[in-house]
């Protein structure tokens, strides 16, 4: 349906996107995952025809949209990372403004505004000015105005940044519902693993302008199939325990917190006896040792050597 073919984008000397290939099929939710500055926003700007790539092509229904983006623009809705609304207007006035720019008018516009306000749960606040809204309500309205013209593809650029867990849950449920009930195609970018895991059928992981992995959730997690993530808990650590653990060649990606240490080891290594022996030698009293399920965060850490939120 929509694809990026070997797309690169340079801003002066800075390569924001490097030789990126990506496709989205109708009716699926695709996640684009990566830390801040990975190039996600540039990639989706290219995909939605807002930014022209330095090289490569963008095709919608097998036709390049770089020189003629009209067909794509008719069926795409965009939810920017920032709150792209007029703060001095009410929720309803914002809706009507963005509806009018899509040539909706009269009764049709009123009905559509009413319908979307109900979908995003803001119909009882329709007459209130946006500047009086909470962060979560603004985010919901930000999504709502992108849905007014019934887009086939909804591009969402980190739509849950800086909001409370309840609003985030509401937004995620709304996106899921739109996809299931209307078969709306969604491209969802985020640096929150759990959101992408919850929503997306397929995932692309970006770092430093390049795609470093892609596939379904299971396919991506299988990247770490030969390794286990171990969690060790204790009331306190001492330097000797940490230093000896770090010095062990089979342990990598070690992360030390106040009462928990996590690290990755090969599945072939029996780490439990080694840990018990080390704890005894260094006088550390272990509370628990767990083998954790592989998460996308672990995969990202494995692929890039740093956490997503770094």
């Amino acid at each position: 349906m929509l694809e990026l073919i070997d797309v690169s984008k340079k801003f002066k000397q800075n390569a924001a996107v490097k030789s990126m290939n990506m496709f989205i099929e109708k009716g699926e939710i695709v996640g684009l995952l990566g830390p801040n500055g990975a190039g996600k926003s540039t990639a989706i700007s290219i995909l939605s025809s807002l930014v022209e790539p330095t090289s490569g092509d963008v095709k919608y229904q097998q036709k390049s949209i770089i020189k003629n983006p009209v067909a794509l623009r008719k069926i795409i809705g965009i939810v920017p990372q920032e709150i792209a609304l007029y703060e001095d207007l009410t929720a309803e006035e914002n809706m009507k403004f963005f509806g009018r720019i899509y040539r909706l008018k009269g009764e049709k516009l009123n009905m559509k505004v009413q319908e979307v306000l109900e979908q995003i749960g803001l119909s009882d606040r329709r007459k209130d000015m946006v500047k009086t809204f909470s962060g979560g309500m603004k985010r919901r309205l930000n999504i709502g105005v992108a849905m007014l013209h019934d887009p086939e593809i909804l591009v969402m650029d980190e739509p849950t940044v800086g909001i409370d867990p309840q609003s985030r849950h509401y937004i995620l449920q709304t996106v899921k519902r739109l996809n299931q009930e209307r078969q709306m195609t969604v491209l969802y970018t985020s640096h929150y693993m759990e959101e992408v895991e919850f929503l997306c059928d397929r995932i692309y992981i970006m770092d430093k302008g390049s795609l470093i992995a892609s596939g379904t959730k299971d396919e991506i997690k299988r990247i770490l199939a030969s390794e286990n993530t171990i969690s060790v808990k204790a009331d306190y650590w001492n330097d000797a325990f940490i230093e000896k653990l770090k010095a062990n060649p089979v342990i990598h990606q070690m992360n030390v917190e106040e009462k928990e240490i996590t690290f990755v080891v090969s599945r072939e290594v029996n780490i439990f006896t080694k840990l018990a022996k080390l704890a005894e030698e260094t006088n550390v009293s272990l509370n628990a040792v767990d083998v954790k399920n592989v998460t996308l965060e672990d995969v990202f850490l494995h692929l890039t050597g740093r956490a997503l939120r770094d």
Partner: protein, 371 residues
Amino acid sequence: MRGIILARFTSFIRNPWLFALFTGMSIIFALIIGNFGAGNEKVTVPVYGDEALQTDTIGTALAENEVYNFKWMKKEELEETIRRGNAEAGVSIEEDGYEMIVGIESPNVQLIEQTVAAIYTDKIQAANLLAVSDAQTEAEKEELLAAFQHAKEEPVFEITNQSFHSSETFLFDNGLHSLFGFTLFFVIYTICYNVLPILIEKKAGVWDRMILSPMKKWEMYIANLIYSFFEGYLQVVIIFTVFRFIVGMDFQGKFPAILLIMIPYVFAIVSLAIFLTALVKNTQQFNAALPIVSVSMAMIGGAFWPIEIVQSEFLLALSKINPLTYGMEALNGLVIYNTPLDQLLMPISILLLMGVIFMGVGIHLMERRHV
């Protein structure tokens, strides 16, 4: 396009305080600095002479003078006043002549002397007229002098000589100058803060949404610029209307022409605001740059003081690329120098040209930098 203008207008109605602030400041500054309401305060000129002269023709004429307040005092007192710099000059009055006592050489000294000289000329003319006339009785003499006075006030023909540009002299009206200066100065802020939302909306992604809609990009620019022009022009109209109908300035009957001549100025400032917005990267930079640009423009454009007193060739050269210079020139030409509108085509054309250039370059920069 209508949608954008409507949205901007609704925002303005809900939040008109910035507009009100700049409009109010223009009016208040012009009233205070322009010394409105203080009446026609006369310049005091110390005068010394015999007591008999105070009630004579000369004394009466001096007392009736509309421009200067001739204040009689003792000779020592007069000299002390001038020595202390409390008066630029004084006059020693005698029966058949006068003597100027000058403290500071200034254009005022010449005007004082012209005033006193004119009074003596009138007196001598009247005396000569009476001497050569057949008037015998007091009534006949008074009738003759009345006829002479009438002839002076309403002559058969009058010769006037006006000059728009002069390297030597210039006309200055503090009230008008303050009004023009502060109006042109503060409207820069109103307009710039109306163009700034383009930058904010671009950063926030509102423009991305509009670009993806069937709306054309030129419609987005035009709608924003029309609205910015409207608000800037509204401010100018309100200020001049207040001074015309509340303060009571008659602008030499040029009120409609003033409003007309402000159109190219406001257009040029809207374009300058686009250019400035294209140069900065964010609101913080804009807020830092705006006062620097606007105050510099006001200083070298003659908004705060007459540009005619600026001596530096460099500053004068800079003023040539400053829309405010041409705005002041057009307003001063129209109201103070009484220049016909068609003879102000030069500053008007320059303002229009600047408008086109600033807007073209500004929009080009914005698009190229993806601001």
